[in-house]
């Protein structure tokens, strides 16, 4: 691009010429390649940083398009804008460019409004509402939750890309950071840009300004160390923010839960649901439900899958009036939900129709028909909800057909762009015999339940969770099963959504259900025309119940608080008391598990597992102890025994590197290395091959010593006149300070002079000189007396140079430590 600007055509109007001159700023610098790292290099670095800044916010947009589609268009648009910026950099003035960018942005926005079915007219008619929308976005409504996120992205991207690159090419680096920075800031405010991307963008912006400034002022690379220090500082500061535990805020978070629990994972925030690896189950009671019949208690509905998390699109509306009823026949049921602890969700049986008037004003309803509290429910809060029970028979579902409404098709068939063909093929295989959507759902449900086993102790996969679980993992828990089933059904063009909530809990009497943290769950809802959303359960429930029941029993035995409420205390965890029998029956009887183990051993598991699954099974059957918890802890122990006692994460390594680089740059900046060398050199000197050098360096040490105890040598003073001047200046100083009249100093002076100005000194003389300075240096230490005595003894005893040298060194080191000890 430098050639582009280099050929700057300066013909035409006066304004054109002015432009050409502005641009040629960088060009003249390019021409005068005076140094290897000069303005030319800084220009490249600054432009690189500008590109990086662009890349940072495009990356965020790309994340969106990856989930909802439109990546090629986005990239084409970005590349096109970069080209346009490059071309126009020398053709149009900044004002024109700004105008062009605004036009592009306006067009993009209009396009978005048109395609989301609102129409451009809204700009005129409902300016306030529009502004409110933008406000909503900027206060944390994630882009990914926007219904037409892809189009929004395409409308948003061009203007900042163009302006940033255009201004950077013109050498206006500080200005160029503005549009890019604003774009990034906006994405930060919406909550789409994560920490790393934000950090990258910030650093890139800083780099662009810094390097641009260095280019403009013709700085040298030695001045860039300041930038390095700033970089390191920013990185460390911003990363350390994430290490500081932040308080849970907002109604979405569940009280008393932390990130490691299953609840914390599936309801990490009201509008998104993530994944983790190993999770704990909280045995604490969350709420109780008085209901005629048991049900899963739904707390969240999610429609958009990004590959590593679920996102709920659309916004909440205040709950005023009844929620849309399911299209088909349904029964209704009433439930009284009482919070037993502070919770940020509103569990209801699907599909909720209404919430009692009193609680309604604190409730919001999402566009998916799920209710949410607008504030955290505190212990004792209760509400009555009415739900429609959609439970059609098999036959009805079989005949439901595929005549899905438009809005259902639009929203519930989404798959991440990077979903592989393999995934679809595999799904097609699984559903090969299935004809109707219901059969497909049943087939997939059955396949997952039988081919994967249940475990809370898994490593979080990277990449598309659904694919990873299907192809790479042998066990998982509800969120993996549900996610995979959702995605598989969507691959088969069946509208499906991912829902979270709690299982029915422990029934303590006819109508009371006690729901604990460990009942947290995720499952699947499939849409059937004329019926609405029907729940499916891909998680192997038997295994799940066992694991969860064990956890509860453990918690009860350990006397964990809040495990029970009054009514549930005496109720055993399992309906069937005969715990061991059940397990004995189940484990060997489960053919799938053995199947699974075989495949596991044969091909699936690439890494050697210290605790292979067959043994696992034995453990459970023979001991009859709790397989879930014990196994979990066993594997955990053995794993940690194999690896390091502490884990060095990549992030930590990177952070350490950054800190070290920053330190190095800072040391470079402050000449710290030299200072350190000086300090060390004061008390220790390595003898070299050149005795003259040794003598000279010994004198320099002496000079520094004198400089510390008296004053530094002035430039005009020769070695001898310096010492002589000190002798004159010194008036009876106390102990510890160096006496300039010392004979040893005279010795050092003489050999220094001879080494530097005369015919040189012998090796022996040099050693003697070093020794003299060593002694003098040691006497300066707080514990000097002792050190000096040993030093003298060593010096006198050792006849050879080397031996006395070594002896001196060791005592010197000792002194050093004593010194630091003080």
């Amino acid at each position: 691009m430098s050639t582009d600007t280099g050929s700057g055509s300066a013909t035409g109007t006066s304004s054109d010429r002015r432009n050409a001159r502005t641009i040629s700023l960088g060009v003249t610098d390019t021409a005068s390649q005076s140094r290897s790292i000069g303005p030319d290099m800084f220009r490249i670095l600054a432009l690189g940083c500008a590109l990086l800044l662009i890349a940072s916010f495009v990356r965020v947009l790309h994340e969106v398009t990856q989930a909802v589609g439109g990546t090629p268009s986005l990239f084409a648009l970005v590349v096109g804008m970069l080209l346009a910026g490059t071309l126009l950099a020398r053709l149009i003035r900044p004002r024109t460019a700004l105008l062009a960018a605004l036009t592009v942005a306006g067009l993009g926005f209009a396009y978005y409004l048109e395609s989301s079915g609102v129409g451009v007219g809204i700009v005129l008619s409902q300016t306030g509402a529009l502004a409110a929308d933008i406000g909503t976005l900027a206060t944390g409504h994630q882009l990914i939750r926007t219904v037409e996120a892809g189009i929004w992205t395409l409308g948003f991207a061009p203007a900042p890309v163009f302006l940033t690159w255009y201004l950077a090419l013109r050498g206006r680096y500080a200005l160029s950071v503005l549009p890019g920075g604003f774009a990034l800031l906006f994405l930060v405010l919406t909550g789409d840009a994560n920490l790393n991307v934000t950090l990258l963008g910030t650093l890139a912006g800083l780099g662009a300004v810094g390097f641009g400034e260095l280019e403009r002022r013709g700085g040298s690379i030695s001045q860039a160390d300041l930038l390095a220090v700033l970089f390191a500082l920013i990185i460390v500061l911003s990363l350390s923010v994430s290490f500081v535990p932040g308080g849970d805020s907002g109604p979405a978070s569940i009280g008393a839960t932390d990130a490691g629990t299953l609840e914390g994972t599936i309801d990490s925030a009201g509008e998104r649901s993530g994944f983790t690896g190993q999770v704990d189950l909280s045995p604490e009671v969350r709420f109780t439900v008085e209901s005629e019949r048991p049900s899963y208690w739904r707390t969240g509905v999610y429609d958009r899958f990004t590959g590593d998390e679920w996102v709920r699109t659309g916004q909440e509306q205040p709950l005023d009036g009844p929620i849309n009823e399911p299209p088909g026949d349904h029964e209704t049921m009433q439930q009284l939900v009482t919070a037993e602890t502070d919770i940020g969700v509103m569990p209801v049986a699907p599909q909720p129709l209404s919430v009692t008037d009193g609680a309604a004003q604190y409730a919001e309803v999402t566009s998916h028909g799920q209710v949410h509290p607008s504030t955290t429910l505190i212990e004792g809060d209760s509400y009555v909800a009415e739900s429609a029970i959609v439970d059609p028979g098999h036959g009805e579902l079989q005949q439901a057909g595929t005549d899905y409404p438009e809005h259902v098709r639009d929203r519930y068939l989404q798959q991440p762009e990077d979903t592989s063909d393999e995934f679809a093929e595999y799904t097609a295989n699984v559903t090969a015999d299935a004809e109707t959507p219901y059969e497909k759902a049943a087939a997939i449900e059955h396949h997952l339940r039988t081919s994967k086993s249940y475990s809370l102790d898994v490593d979080q996969p990277s990449g598309n969770v659904a694919e990873e679980f299907l192809f790479e993992m042998d066990e998982g828990y509800c969120i993996y099963f549900a996610t995979t089933m959702t995605q598989m059904l969507r691959a088969e063009e069946v509208p499906t959504r991912y829902v979270t909530g709690y299982t029915s809990g422990q029934q303590v009497d006819d109508t009371t259900h006690v729901v604990r943290g460990l009942d947290a769950h995720a499952w699947v809802e499939v849409y059937f025309p004329d019926h609405g959303w029907v729940a499916f359960e891909p998680t192997p429930s038997g295994e799940r119940d066992d694991v969860h029941a064990d956890q509860l029993e453990d918690a009860r035995e350990d006397g964990v608080e809040n495990v029970d409420i009054e009514e549930s205390e005496d109720v055993p965890v399992r309906e069937d008391d005969d715990d061991e029998d059940e397990q004995d029956e189940r484990d060997p009887a489960d053919p799938e598990e053995e199947d699974n183990n075989e495949t596991n051993g044969d091909e699936r598991d690439p890494e050697p597992d210290p605790d292979p699954d067959p043994e696992n099974g034995n453990n459970g059957t023979t001991d009859g102890t709790d397989p879930g918890s014990d196994d979990g802890s066993d594997t955990g122990d053995e794993r940690s025994a194999l690896s390091l006692p502490f884990t060095v994460s990549r992030e930590l390594l990177a952070l350490t590197t950054v800190v070290l680089i920053g330190l190095a740059a800072g040391i470079h900046r402050t000449d710290g290395r030299k200072r350190l060398q000086h300090l060390v050199g004061l008390f220790w000197q390595r003898s070299t091959d050149n005795p003259d050098d040794d003598a000279a360096r010994a004198y320099r040490r002496l000079e520094r010593l004198l400089g510390r105890t008296h004053r530094a040598r002035r430039p005009g003073e020769s070695a001898r006149s310096y010492v002589a001047a000190l002798r004159d200046e010194v008036t009876g100083d106390g102990k510890g300070s160096l006496d300039p009249a010392d004979d040893r100093i005279e010795t050092v002076l003489e050999s220094y002079e001879r080494a530097v100005y005369g015919g040189g000194v012998s090796r022996q003389e040099a050693a003697k000189t070093i020794e003299a300075v060593d002694e003098l240096a040691r006497e300066q230490l707080p514990m000097g007396g002792i050190g000096a005595d040993t030093g003298d003894g060593d010096g006198g005893g050792g006849s050879g140079d080397d031996s006395s040298e070594n002896g001196d060194k060791s005592t010197c080191d000792d002194d050093d430590t004593t010194h630091s000890g003080n």
Partner: protein, 335 residues
């Protein structure tokens, strides 16, 4: 008129220079001998001159360092006495020229005289032909006459009637000049000033020294009883020793930096001749101090007297001396 000794005991060769003659090898004296010679002369001179030890030392280092000395002071402080006692201490030819306004160049260099007997012109050598030449009140002679000294001092030769004659070795001019009566004196040309290795000031003696001086000179003046402590040949060999003293690169660089400083900070700075003179003086001082190498301290000890008169400023308040003092303070000793 010339106030020189009659040229009757003329033993000096005054023949024109023969090119081959100059390449005689001089055997240097051992370092310790030279050191003791310096001490001997110093002690000897101190018998006549009370106090002024550093000036005496400077004159001796100039003598050993092949330089000429200009003593600049008011009359009566012992300039001539110093020059005479130095000359007497060395057993060699001593000549004295009293410069007056009507002194002619030939009165200094010598003249071809027609010999009636041989019926040939004979060169009658002037008072410049001596080993130690005392030019008294040198600034009383007009520039024309002073210029006669130029060639002698720099080239150690004189040219009379187109014939160049070599001056004896060693050849040292010790000149005095009067700092008072400026309207009856001629300023020394800068070029001539530059040819003096050192310009020294005696100054009035300390009251204690002066009392001592009065006591000594009540009877016969001690100069009359002064005896030489060394001879011409020894001096030549001692000079050879001095000229072979090692000057390490850091010292040379330091001298260069000093000169550079004066050039940057004065109208006219120290000339290369000045830096050469400084090094020679420093060499001599190193020998006097018993060293066979020059240290920056030697340079610093000599710089003030060697460089000051070569530095000319336009600023009345800051003369060459101040500039050189600044240079010594500010120019770093180690590169």
């Amino acid at each position: 008129m010339t106030d020189a000794d009659p040229p009757t005991d003329m033993v000096l060769e005054t023949t024109p220079i023969d090119a081959d003659e100059q390449t005689e090898e001089i055997d240097p004296l051992p370092l310790t001998r030279v050191e003791s010679i310096g001490t001997d002369i110093e002690d000897n001179v101190a018998r006549v001159i009370v106090g002024h030890e550093s000036v005496i030392e400077h004159v001796i280092t100039a003598l050993l360092g092949r330089g000429h000395v200009l003593l600049d002071d008011v009359p009566g402080v012992g300039k001539t006495m110093l020059a005479r006692s130095i000359a007497t201490s060395v057993d060699c030819t001593f000549r004295r020229i009293q410069f007056t306004p009507d002194l002619l160049p030939t009165d200094v260099t010598g003249v071809n005289v027609f010999n009636q007997q041989t019926r040939e012109f004979e060169f009658q050598p002037g008072p410049i032909f001596g080993n130690i030449v005392l030019g008294d009140e040198i600034n009383r002679a007009p520039p024309k006459t002073q210029s006669a000294l130029l060639e002698a001092m720099e080239e150690q030769q004189v040219t009379a009637d187109g014939e160049t004659r070599s001056l004896p070795s060693p050849f040292t001019v010790i000149a005095t000049q009067n700092a008072i009566e400026p309207n009856r004196t001629y300023d020394l040309p800068f070029a001539e000033l530059d040819r003096f290795m050192k310009k020294l000031h005696l100054g009035y003696p300390d009251p204690k020294d002066e009392a001592e001086l009065l006591g000594r000179t009540v009877g016969t003046h001690p100069i009359e009883e002064l005896e030489s402590v060394t001879d011409r040949e020894t001096l030549v060999r001692a000079r050879e020793t001095v000229s072979r003293i090692e000057v390490a690169a850091p010292v040379r660089a330091y001298v260069t930096r000093l000169a550079g400083y004066t050039r940057e900070n004065a109208h006219i700075g120290a000339s290369p001749r000045g830096t050469i003179a400084l090094l020679r003086a420093a060499q001599a001082r190193a020998v006097i101090n018993g060293r066979d190498y020059v240290t920056p301290d030697d340079v610093q000890a000599e710089a003030a007297v060697v460089l000051s008169h070569r530095v000319k400023t336009n600023n009345r308040t800051r003369d060459g001396k101040a500039i050189v003092a600044d240079a010594l303070e500010q120019v770093p000793v180690d590169g």
